[in-house]
């Protein structure tokens, strides 16, 4: 890696201007802004003096030094939280429970009706409801934790498509056993959907799950149960509770890779018309950053499984690739993701997609085809490039291809991809790449998660600087729902997974409503945290200067070596003084002045923009 980086560093920080990648003249991003961007997307803070002195040398960004910083930041708890959020979206595990659709697949796990008589009182009902919510949280988190294991242990990340060893709780396994029940009702739906008695048994004492069953994470391998093997029932809770780290247990439903998690299937509900095609397409998007396309000329050697309705005309171009892939799923499963009654069908399967063909006889084969597909490395490099840039990189960009190759050659080590990509000009825009023609070194606006997370991290820094106990580190959910803050943060756009779309929807720009929402959010937070219920500061006229210093350094993320420090510090002082005059010099003058400085910084580009 060092050799490659050294080769790249020859152009770092220079506007070579001679590559002519396209009509838009290249402008290098100021090194301090590139550093701010990388640190901001990773952990939400601004660059410290230490960061600046290590990474910016003689006015140029040292790519090796930045790579070292990225490696350091990867291991911070701040990045960990953001990484989990990124993975839950990119691995498409972030379902919202749908009371209409999901019960067909998973049973009535959430109690929409509050039948106190049945549950024997509100305590029991509330406990069951709370545990169903824990279950959903576990389901969302399970495969993200699995992916994190690959990252932490430097294992091949393409194994996300093939692994049967998942991080699970007892609760998750019990639910999977519940779904593994082969019986279906007359509508081909899960017969447990209306069986509240079973759900009650599962969720409540004396023999059901307890709260600890939703917090006992460990890796368990899910083997494929032979036809003559019946996996332990979902009521065998002590059995699942007794499984220890690295044990294995059988399931009849194939539990292989990110595309066969309960969360993924709850997110992408199929039906009798769709017949698993949504899962196929979303798996291609997740694994390979591609979607079915009539232009894909890959030879599909078989026609088994193609619906007659789609066997000719324009539809056929997609269905010829897609439908034979489904066979390994539809052979023994219904469109409710349930096991069929025997006899199963036995159609041959074939994966033929963007230049790669492989015969399929099992769901494991399908996962292997994704993992072995030549586009896996480029797909994930593009996925992350788009995520961190808030805009698509160019698939033909030599630098993107180089980073993807480094990722692949490392044995698909995700950490290597992060380090290589986040220190690359694709993200830093320190020298020209083809991607610049698409992104033009974009500075995007923080979306809700990023903004709230950034505020959380920076508030913690302020609290620590003030000698206070810092608030809990999270994505900023608590902060952005404090008092009336939720009303305003709710109006700030959110990153969203969109069915059928390769990239997340990441609104990159501010508009009137989001701007106003941020203004109101900042106002609300200033009222709470400065002289309000969660006060940051102990007011004393002698503290003004140091408090202003801290707001500039920690809230704005502008340390003293930053080129804009002096100007921002001066502006903060002026705002403070104007507020002092405007509000009058009463008992609350210092509070009001600091609140105004807080709002000034919070509304400004240093907080709202990513790497301004």
């Amino acid at each position: 890696m060092l050799l490659i980086l050294s080769a790249c560093t020859s152009d770092i920080g220079r506007n070579t201007g001679a590559k002519n990648f396209g009509p838009i003249p290249f402008e290098a991003t100021p090194p301090i802004s590139s550093l701010a961007k990388v640190k901001s997307v990773m952990i939400g803070q601004g660059p410290s003096n230490s960061d600046i002195s290590q990474v910016i040398v003689d006015g140029h960004l040292d790519q090796d030094a930045l790579a070292a910083k990225v490696e350091e930041w990867i291991d911070t708890p701040e990045f960990r939280i953001r990484l989990k959020r990124m993975l839950v979206q990119l691995l498409q595990q972030d379902f919202e429970y749908d009371n209409t659709e999901n019960p067909r697949h998973t049973g009535r796990l959430r109690y929409a009706n509050t039948d106190l008589t049945y549950f024997g009182g509100s305590d029991q009902l509330e406990r069951a409801q709370a545990r169903s919510e824990m279950m959903f949280d576990n389901l969302r988190e399970s495969f993200v934790r699995t992916a994190l294991r690959f990252i932490d242990q430097d294992l091949a990340f393409n194994s996300i498509a093939t692994t049967r060893k998942w991080e699970v709780t007892t609760g998750v396994m019990v639910l999977m056993a519940w779904i593994d029940n082969p019986r279906i009702d007359s509508d081909n739906h899960l017969d447990l959907a209306g069986r509240r008695d079973k759900a009650k048994q599962m969720y409540l004492e004396p023999n059901g799950l307890v709260n600890d069953d939703f917090d006992d994470w460990r890796p368990i391998t899910f083997t494929q149960a032979a036809d003559n093997i019946s996996p332990p029932s979902f009521l065998s809770i002590p059995y699942y509770r007794g499984l220890e780290e690295n044990d294995s247990t059988p399931f009849k439903i194939s539990r292989v890779g990110f595309f066969s998690t309960v969360a993924n299937r709850m997110k992408w509900v199929t039906n009798d018309d769709n017949q698993w095609r949504v899962i196929m397409n979303q798996a291609m998007i997740t694994g390979l950053n591609l979607t079915y396309d009539t232009a894909d000329a890959t030879n599909q050697p078989i026609t088994a499984g193609i619906d007659d309705d789609h066997a000719k005309g324009e539809c056929y171009l997609c269905h010829k690739a897609m439908d034979p892939m489904r066979n390994v799923f539809t052979n023994n499963m219904t469109s409710s993701y349930r096991l069929k009654d025997v006899p199963y069908s036995n159609l041959n399967g074939s994966f033929a997609f963007f230049g790669y063909q492989q015969n399929l006889s099992s769901v494991d084969d399908f996962g292997n085809a994704i993992a072995n597909h030549p586009r896996f490395a480029l797909g994930w490099t593009q996925k992350l490039c788009r995520y961190f840039n808030t805009g698509e990189c160019d698939d033909k960009d030599a630098e993107l291809i180089r980073v993807a190759k480094v990722f692949k050659d490392s044995g698909f080590k995700f950490r290597t991809l992060l380090i290589e990509l986040l220190s690359s000009p694709l993200i830093t825009n320190q020298f020209e790449t083809l991607t610049y023609q698409k992104t033009q070194g974009i500075i995007s606006a923080n979306r809700r998660d990023q903004l709230c997370s950034t505020l959380n991290v920076r508030f913690r820094d302020l609290q620590i600087a003030n000698g206070q106990s810092p608030m809990e580190l999270d994505l900023g959910q608590e902060l952005c729902s404090k008092d009336d803050a939720l009303d305003y943060s709710d109006n700030i756009p959110q990153d969203t997974v969109v069915r059928g779309s390769i990239g997340l929807a990441q609104p990159p720009t501010l508009n009137a409503i989001s701007t106003r929402s941020i203004e109101r959010l900042c106002r609300e937070l200033s009222d709470v945290y400065i002289g309000g219920s969660e006060n940051f500061f102990v007011f004393n006229p002698q503290n003004n200067s140091s408090y202003l210093d801290r707001l500039v350094k920690y809230l704005a993320g502008i340390d003293t070596m930053h080129p804009r420090y002096t100007a921002l510090r001066t502006a903060a002082e002026e705002i403070y003084n104007q507020a002092f005059v405007a509000y009058g010099s009463g008992a609350n003058a210092q509070r009001d002045g600091l609140r105004e400085v807080f709002r000034f910084i919070c509304e400004g580009p240093e907080v709202t923009g990513v790497g301004f």
Binding site: G441, I443, V498, T515, A579, R599, P605
Partner: protein, 440 residues
Amino acid sequence: MSLAELNRRQFILKSLTAMGGLGLKSVLLNLPPAFLLRGAMASTSAKKLIFSHNRSGDPLNGNTPGSYPNVPLNVVRHPVSGTHASSFVKTAIQLGPQSYDGAQVWGTLSSDIRDQMHFFRAPTLENNHTKGVYVMSVRNALKNKEGRSYEIFPSVVSYENAAALGIENPKPMGFGGVLEYENVEEAPIKPKALKELFQSYTNATESVMKQARDTAIDALYSALKSKGTLAQRKYLDNHAISRNQAAIYATQLSSYLTSVTNNSTINIIRAAVALLKINATAAVRLSFAFGGDNHSDADLEFEAEQTVNGVADIQDLWDEVKSLGLENDTIFMINNVFGRTLEPRGPGRGRDHNTWDNVAIVLGPGVKPGVTGGLDPNPEFPYQRAAAFNSVNGTLTNPDVPPSLAHASLVKSVLKICGVPEARIEKRIKSGIYVPNLIA
């Protein structure tokens, strides 16, 4: 913010958005130049849209003009009991020069509404409450701006007409219920929150300090605005424009929302029309109720009550449209997820979902008043389903539009009424025909 300062900001904003500054405008608004150019070349008859969609599947097809064939009540049911029974007596409803048999309540609408109001029988061929997006995209026949995938009707109008109307935001805005733009769900707006978000600063000191903060931000980054990178300049310009727009919204919206106290229907109407008035969007989505999912409405009394209120909502909405001077620029349309069954379903039962019949309502300039389509007397399902109709006169004589194409034809025709250029309509929807009986 002082008036002088606001005027300066408005002047800058208008200058920036003038066609002469296309490149700059494109950069600032993050919209492709083609979008802006298309607006310049688009039809000058572009209209704004207020779109009502109800996932309940309301029984409009049981009482609107054209829904009272000469058959007994055991074939086509109407409300006959309760407080509002008189509102459902079969009455000749004047729609422009012609009258049509319908529930009396429709005749209570003012004549200026009935002179540009059309009732269009168009089954959605769906009977599932969750299929709102599917129905609003005409079962995916309505395509996105590239002519692929799908897009829902209000989002097509908002995108296609935004530029022509000088509206920067190509997305629709909604007040509840599913609303997608480019397959991404849009967050619903609550009138009370909108009022509070954009209310002017009542505290003079806060207003002064807001101006001070804006001025300080502008001053602090003034050097970057002229000498920064393109990305920095774009971000700062967008930041400034958003602040300016928010300030303008605050100034303009607050006067229209003064009477908003909660999120009731009348306040949704006020907020929706206000957003159109200030050019925040070209299309808004809301939901008027006309009886709802009335499976167990045994005597149809709830249907009667809600329909009376729903008709009043239409009157309130158009009054609000007129009070803000938008009556020549706005189309109102109701198109629900499906209609309801017409024949009695047995004791204690109301109406079930009807895949095969539904009535849409279109109101506004460019709409020919009247009725299109009718109930099919076919003895296999007498008067329970929409019949094929004649697109020129709307009757069942010499029909040329089968029920399977009625919905697409309705949407295609309303796009034309909304002023979307035909070339763009053809890109968006291939199926269906323009219905002369609907288009004035």
